[in-house]
């Protein structure tokens, strides 16, 4: 036995295939569920036992299993519940897209015209490819940890690019069009924001948690250290507010508060942040007519049921028609004069459509699936090796959870509606791809065997608390 022989088993061990039994079982349940869903839709539509959109569903399931096999071959000990859960959510979304009229969104690529479900399937497969790739390839987080300012700069630059070159759509300037592709970079910014905040808070956590500055009777965080973070949050929130993307602004602020609380464990700062957020919201209310309109719709959608309140009123009726167990896939959403009652059903109101056709039981199951993603993320955070990874995992989980909450609550008239997507279910390439990045990163972080974190950088100037100058 030479030294080379002793080294070889270690090299093989890195890529030793490992069965992922639980993932396989869960994916089998997902497959059966989607099959029954397609059957339900087909029977409702045609009156014969056929599976509607069977080819699309089959391709999707194959893609899911491909990711499973790739992960088994790579043999990393990553989380086994995330992929099936996200796969279930994506599959339910795909079922909904198959069920909706296909001409809601069409896009031409060369001579082929793709409908709503085909486009969604293409995005889903791309998303799964991202999840698989990140879950297998990412073995170190240095590229995120060390370049947090670079990431922040890229994120802000993207937003500014949209601001300068973007295309107005539904009254908000969110979309950047490059050739045949269009994307919404504000989706990507939320991930960038989490990476930046996790990196920054992990570095300055000891200071933020111990040091305090007093302004009168108020204990506030040490301002010099908070400023870069506040600047980043302020700039990103400010830009999206000017772009009238209020959902994204709300999401950014929630992410910031949650990560600040996770890093420092101080409820008083969160209270302060909430108070400031409330004041900012009130200011926004008086500054922007859009906000006033949204709040007015939220308070009383029935004031103008055929105009501004139309979507919400229709969504509430849809939920009401659904009842406990729903009317069945394909049986709901009566078309009014050849058009769907809710125009933005595939992006903003998928929950209303699912609420009508799957009922309370279905909606609760979907919300529980989001809860599983969040719980998994927090579990990964709790088991993480160091602060950066913990904050990153928790932040990524909160991104999905908060976004699902904001749009689900908006659909249900619990909070004013803001136009963001329901992760993994809504139609939309940017949203799907970015949420796939989130899940892929979570998968990579869940690996116990991931490269150990670098030793903390001891930079005296930073670790030593600032001295307050006297008189």
């Amino acid at each position: 036995m030479t030294a080379a022989a002793a080294v070889a088993p270690r090299g093989i061990a890195r890529f030793r295939p490992r069965t992922r039994r639980r993932e396989l079982i869960l994916l089998a349940i997902v497959t059966i569920t989607l099959g029954v869903g397609g059957l339900s839709l087909g029977m409702q539509r045609t009156g014969r036992p056929t599976v509607e959109g069977g080819t699309l569903l089959a391709i999707y399931v194959l893609a899911l299993f491909a990711v499973h096999v790739a992960q088994s071959v790579a043999g990393r000990r990553t989380d086994q519940a995330l992929l099936p859960t996200v796969g279930m959510l994506g599959g339910i979304g795909l079922l909904l897209m198959i069920r909706l009229p296909q001409d809601l969104v069409t896009q031409r690529f060369g001579g082929i015209e793709l409908g709503l479900a085909q486009l969604q399937l293409a995005w889903l497969c791309l998303g799964l490819a991202i999840i698989g790739t990140l879950g297998i390839v990412v073995r170190s987080d240095a590229w995120l940890r060390l370049y947090k300012y670079t990431w922040a700069a890229i994120g802000v630059a993207l937003l500014l690019l949209v601001f300068a070159l973007g295309v107005d759509e539904n009254g908000s300037r969110l979309t950047l069009v490059v050739g045949p592709f269009s994307g919404q970079p504000s989706e990507l910014l939320k991930v960038v924001l989490v990476i930046f905040l996790a990196g920054y808070l992990a570095e300055y956590r000891p200071l933020l948690a111990t040091e305090r500055t007093s302004i009168g009777p108020l204990h506030v965080p040490p301002l010099p250290y908070l400023l870069p973070m506040l600047a980043m949050v302020g700039v990103s929130t400010g830009i999206v507010i000017i772009q009238k993307d209020l959902g994204a602004a709300l999401l950014f602020y929630v992410i910031f508060l949650v990560l600040l609380y996770l890093a420092t464990g101080r409820a008083s700062w969160v209270a302060l942040g909430l108070a400031l957020g409330t004041i900012a919201s009130i200011c926004l209310y008086f500054l922007f007519p859009t906000v006033q309109e949204r709040v007015a719709i939220w308070l009383d959608p029935f004031a103008d049921p055929l105009g501004s309140g139309f979507q919400i009123v229709q969504a509430l009726h849809a939920f009401a028609r659904g009842g406990l167990f729903g009317v069945g896939l394909g049986a709901g959403l009566p078309e009014i004069a050849g058009r769907l009652p809710i125009p933005a059903v595939h992006t903003d109101f998928p929950l209303a459509a699912l609420g009508e056709e799957l009922g309370l039981a279905g909606v609760l199951a979907i919300l529980a699936l989001f809860l599983v993603v969040v719980a998994r993320g927090l579990r990964i955070a709790a088991a993480a090796a160091d602060t950066f990874r913990a904050l990153l995992a928790a932040g990524l989980a909160i991104v999905v959870g908060a976004q699902a909450f904001v749009i689900a609550a908006g659909d249900l008239k619990l909070i004013p509606l803001t136009g963001i997507t329901l992760p993994f279910i809504s139609y939309g390439g940017s949203s799907l791809l970015v949420n796939s990045v989130v899940v892929g990163l979570l998968l990579a972080l869940s690996d116990r065997g991931i490269e150990p974190p670098p030793p903390p950088r001891t930079r005296g100037a930073i670790m030593r608390p600032l001295r307050r100058s006297r008189g």
């Binding site: 079982i25 349940i29 029954v36 029977m43 409702q44 036992p49 086994q80 199951a365 529980a368 599983v372």
Partner: protein, 145 residues
């Protein structure tokens, strides 16, 4: 009732049922993970149960957690102190290597017995085997998980 309507009902509820079945399955995975994580701190590899002890020191029925290396003897520094007159100060050591148990006599005066036979050198130990140190007999059991 129309068979189509009936089967549609069945399929609809099957879909909802499957969604909840999936959640149940995921919840089981999550629960098992949480249990394992919380069990990590207090988990023991195995345990020794006192089967016979003429002096009542240690008492019959007493259990001791067994770690990767467990020493037995009259010495107060031993992992398991056996204040029996026929036990030596450093009597025996139980080790857990890989996935198996081993016991070794450490040159005691009266020797160590496994299932009634005197041992020499390192001897593999199975769960349920009885070790005799002095006049005290202990049985190796599976640890609490």
């Amino acid at each position: 009732m129309d068979p189509l309507v009936t089967s549609l009902w069945v399929v609809r509820f099957a879909l909802l049922g499957l969604m909840w079945l999936f959640l149940l399955a995921v919840a089981r995975v999550l629960l098992r993970d949480v249990r394992r994580a919380s069990g990590d701190a207090g988990a023991e590899l195995g345990r020794l149960v006192v089967v016979a002890s003429p002096d009542g020191q240690p008492a019959v029925g007493a259990t001791f957690a067994v770690d990767a290396v467990t020493t037995l003897g009259r010495d107060l520094g031993s992992t398991i102190v056996i204040p029996d007159a026929f036990a030596s100060t450093e009597h025996a050591v139980i080790t857990y290597r890989g996935r198996a148990w081993f016991v070794e006599d450490r040159g005691s005066t009266n020797g160590t017995y496994v299932n009634g036979s005197l041992i020499e050198g390192v001897v593999p130990l199975a769960v349920g085997d009885e070790i005799q140190v002095g006049r005290v007999r202990l049985r190796l059991d599976r640890g609490r998980r």
